[in-house]
């Protein structure tokens, strides 16, 4: 497996993972599951940034998107209802 095949295989895997986690984040009825899906989205996105040779953006995305935003959302959800309320 040379570099080109590895690169394009990784690109396809990243695209499939991003689409899956984004649709899961929208579709989940349990809000904590949706937040975890958003964290997975950010982590896969940071892997994509690292593959595209931008390690600065990858570190920022992994730190802010996958950790701090998740912590903020979890602390906010713990105060309110854990299930999505449909009017």
């Amino acid at each position: 497996m040379n570099f080109d095949e590895l690169f394009w295989t990784l690109q396809v895997l990243v695209a499939v993972g991003l689409l899956t986690s984004a649709i899961a984040a929208v579709r989940f009825k349990n809000l904590i599951s949706a937040v975890i899906a958003m964290a997975v989205f950010s982590l896969i996105l940071s892997l994509e940034f690292y593959v595209l040779q931008a390690p600065d953006v990858a570190i920022a995305e992994a730190g802010v998107g996958a950790c701090l935003t998740t912590a903020m959302y979890l602390l906010a959800i713990k105060k309110t209802a854990a299930e999505e309320v449909i009017e």
Binding site: I59, G63, C67, A71, M72, K78
Partner: protein
């Protein structure tokens, strides 16, 4: 949220995450990363500690940490390092680089080199100030969320 899993994970991971954040801040002019990224990683470690500990312990510990003052010191220090460029040049001029100043003032050898910590001019100072500012700001946001959570439980 204080289960045994989170407490055991925090006991082993928090020190590593904090060390990695400090490494990214201090080595910002040599390796990928910088003030903002290192501050975000450091604040992630502090958020892990905040989530894993009890409320009383957190209020005791963070009462002595002046987070707002650290934020202001970071912003003012960043502006001050930028204003240093007025010594004969323009705003944001890197006046300390290649000047022989004992701290971070050495010239760097051209080409591929292993990286020397004592180079960079104003860049390491700005990295440290911006890192302080970012970690204080993000940690205070998480802390305010956590303390607000506790209020609702008591009432």
């Amino acid at each position: 949220m204080t289960t045994v899993i989170i407490k055991t994970t925090t006991k082993y991971l928090a020190a590593l995450i904090l060390t990695f954040g400090a490494y990214i801040i201090v080595h910002g002019h040599l390796t990928p990363g910088g003030g903002f990224q290192g501050g975000a990683v450091f604040a992630s470690g502090l958020a892990l500690l905040i989530v894993a500990c009890e409320g009383d312990v957190i209020r005791e510990r963070f009462k002595k940490v002046p987070l707002s003052a650290l934020e202001s010191v970071g912003a003012l220090g960043f502006l001050g390092m930028a204003t240093l460029g007025f010594m004969g040049y323009t705003f944001f001029r890197n006046v300390i680089a290649n000047s022989g100043f004992p701290l971070f003032g050495e010239p760097t050898p051209l080409g591929i080199n292993p990286g020397y910590l004592n180079t960079g001019g104003t860049l390491p100072y700005m990295n440290i100030f911006v890192g302080t500012k970012v970690l204080a700001g993000l940690t205070s946001i998480i802390l305010v969320f956590y303390l607000l959570l506790e209020v609702r439980e008591n009432e």
